[in-house]
Amino acid sequence: MRVGWEQRGEKSYYYRSFREGNAVRKVYFGNGRAAQIAAEQDREARARRREERKRLQDFEGPLIRLDGWMMELHKYIRILTEATLLVGGLHEHHGMWRRKHCA
């Protein structure tokens, strides 16, 4: 089935759909030359988007796992830093580490 072409009796007519807020609107192009051009433009746009999506997936795919590990690393280092400084007699005050007056 060709995307955007709608069958009306013997003939098919081209409609370009787009979203306007929550509603989906359609623009009628008929079945002549204008419909052919609009259909071609939309096909190219779809192919371009598909290509972009694929490139994005290829780019982000290997990064997701590494990002997960990096998050873990940041978390552990934060815990270890806090633990070390607390053991050293410091305490955190508004993001700054200070030494206890009574320590």
Partner: protein, 250 residues
């Protein structure tokens, strides 16, 4: 009387259950005895995994932060007596580094080898000769962040002409975030180095040591906790009275 019948009914049920289970266990034991198998030994209590120790550490940190100072000895114990925690963090850092190197090299072994050498030398450069386990972990994180920035910037060069695409936007966001993280990681290292120097300074002045630094304060086997010296690279910061890290004078 209904009050009497109800408990009797219940106890009867419980007894029945007990009998049933008893019966089951006895059959099992007899069958194992009959087949000549040894009865199962109780497993020795397993050692806490590094992840569990880290969770325990996190819990202890939270408690101390909320004012439970009595948890400090436990925190110290967790830090100093569980090298697995430090090992785990080091393993994660190395795994991430390997991952970035693999991406950067893109199948080229020579590039991968040179990247590995770069990682080693950069870590040495940042660490110096005298460092704690915490500093080592932080430096590994910095190098990891730098590798990430290098990969993303390299990708920008190798896949150009994508100014308006989703990929370009996603990549720009990632580069910005990665650069921020790398800068912050570096700042954190400097901050921790300063704070640790101050802790050591206080410890040296007080007759009784106030605490033992994380990882026993020894990562490369060179540091002697009894005669702590402030590393020479930190002297300029201390002389200047650098305001980057505010430490209240007690």
């Amino acid at each position: 009387m209904p009050e009497q019948t109800r408990p009797r009914k219940n106890t009867g049920n419980r007894k029945g259950q007990q009998r049933k289970t008893k019966g089951r266990t006895s059959t099992k034991s007899t069958s194992s005895q009959a087949s000549g198998k040894k009865p199962k030994k109780r497993r020795p209590q397993r050692k806490e995994s590094a992840a569990e120790q880290l969770t325990a550490l996190q819990a202890a940190v939270e408690l101390v932060k909320r004012g439970h100072r009595e948890m400090v000895p436990r925190l110290r114990e967790l830090l100093t007596e569980s090298p697995e925690v430090w090992k785990t963090v080091g393993d994660i850092a190395r795994n991430v580094q390997r991952g970035w190197v693999r991406l950067l090299a893109d199948g080229d072994d020579t590039v991968a080898e040179s990247m590995n050498l770069y990682v080693e030398s950069r870590q040495k450069e940042l660490l110096g000769d005298d460092f704690t386990a915490l500093e080592k972990a932080m430096v590994e994180r910095i190098v990891t962040c730098e590798l990430r920035v290098a990969y993303l910037e390299g990708h920008e060069v190798s896949v150009p002409g994508l100014d308006d695409t989703r990929l370009a936007r996603a990549r720009d966001e990632r580069i910005e975030r990665a650069e921020k993280l790398a800068t912050r990681a570096m700042q954190k290292l400097r901050e921790v180095q300063l704070l640790q120097a101050r802790i050591r300074n206080v410890e040296a002045r007080t007759p009784k040591p106030m605490s033992v630094l994380a990882g026993g304060g020894v990562a490369n086997g060179k540091r002697d906790s009894s005669s702590e010296q402030i590393p020479s690279r930190l002297q300029p910061y201390l002389r200047k009275g650098n305001g980057a890290v505010k430490v209240a004078q007690g």
